[in-house]
Symmetry: C2
């Protein structure tokens, strides 16, 4: 979705209009809606630009379907359908992390899903969810049953909340990540709790936490 370097201004404007239109109206615009909004003299010009945006992977056009434009995210996934994130497993201190790779193929495996704000897949691309089991994450202010939304990652910036795997302890945990030389400080979200220090070698980042959702 993020417009490439040097996308022609007209095409950029079209793309932005489509997104705004969908948000405002709950359905995609017609070619003529775009024509008027972007001050284009002919529908054929809109069609031409849409075809290029389609070719370059910014959107999908269903042929012969009125308002058949579908915006795609960075990884080519549809964007305007209801955003559901797969809950690929549970996380608990001491428990092994569920396999993120698709070892059993998706067809054979039934996943629970959770609906998230459309904003999240739009901003972060492909995501997955983990249900927190027990009170093992309570120092990160995360309760039993909360779902953490994770963006897969192998590295993290200073201060980001990450899914960290402690190799020696064989323990998964959610903490804020602070590299400090050859050591890593893992800081709970709860300021009343003490941080964990361990060697860089012993920590593996599995993903970044982009949101925590608690339902009642």
């Amino acid at each position: 979705m993020t417009p490439n370097r040097k996308m022609p201004p007209r095409r950029k404007r079209i793309l932005e209009f489509i997104q705004t239109f969908i948000e405002d109206n709950g359905l995609p615009p017609t070619v003529r809606d775009i024509q008027k909004a972007c001050e284009i003299s002919s529908t054929s010009v809109v069609d031409y630009n849409l075809r290029l945006l389609d070719r370059d992977g910014y959107l999908n056009r269903r042929p012969d379907v009125a308002r058949g434009i579908e915006l795609l995210d960075d990884s080519g996934q549809p964007l305007n359908s209801v955003p559901k994130v797969q809950i690929v497993g549970r996380i608990a201190a001491g428990a092994p992390l569920p396999a993120f790779s698709t070892e059993g193929n998706a067809a054979s495996q039934e996943f629970d899903t959770i609906e998230v704000a459309p904003e999240l897949p739009r901003k972060f691309g492909k995501l997955y969810g983990l249900e927190v089991q027990g009170l093992s994450m309570i120092d990160a202010l995360i309760d039993d049953g909360d779902v953490v939304i994770i963006q897969p990652a192998q590295q993290a910036e200073n201060g980001e909340m990450v899914v960290a795997w402690l190799k020696e302890e064989e323990e998964a945990t959610l903490k804020k990540f602070y590299p400090e030389g050859s050591q890593v400080r893992l800081q709970p979200a709860n300021s009343q709790m003490e941080p964990i220090y361990c060697s860089t070698d012993n920590v593996e980042i599995r993903g970044k936490v982009v949101s925590v959702i608690r339902k009642f």
Copy 2:
């Protein structure tokens, strides 16, 4: 959205199909899509039923617009646009609750908004958000900056998480609500913390918490 008692089965089927179609395809169906899916012999019958559903407040039809069906929730609000919830203010222990009523009219007041899962407005209707300020809610496992999504309510069931206003203390708090005779027990979400007991007279329920969202 919840179909009334005694909604004709055909109309119920149409309504359910529209919702499924939007979720699956990201845009509303045409009259003929509905016709085929619900095995109706004529488009005019679909049109007839859609007009009744419109009249009864289940949906909105934009005249002369292809796929111009818009589903409405229980309170008559649009449902298929990106669900944004207004953050009407901040909540902190000891601070007065923001005015929920529209005293200053909406036009004059700029609200922040937060995107939520489409599921929430669908299930709970009109919602608002409160941003938690400071660590006053930490015993409910809620951090500074978290947003709680609230369904307005004056009463609550046993065990529900509520926004409670303690009159004497002039204090707002998020707790689980347990009426116990003439007393009320307000239990933090964090099992390591102690509950608060106070008299029924001193507690005012302002709303129920339906979700907590934490972003990074």
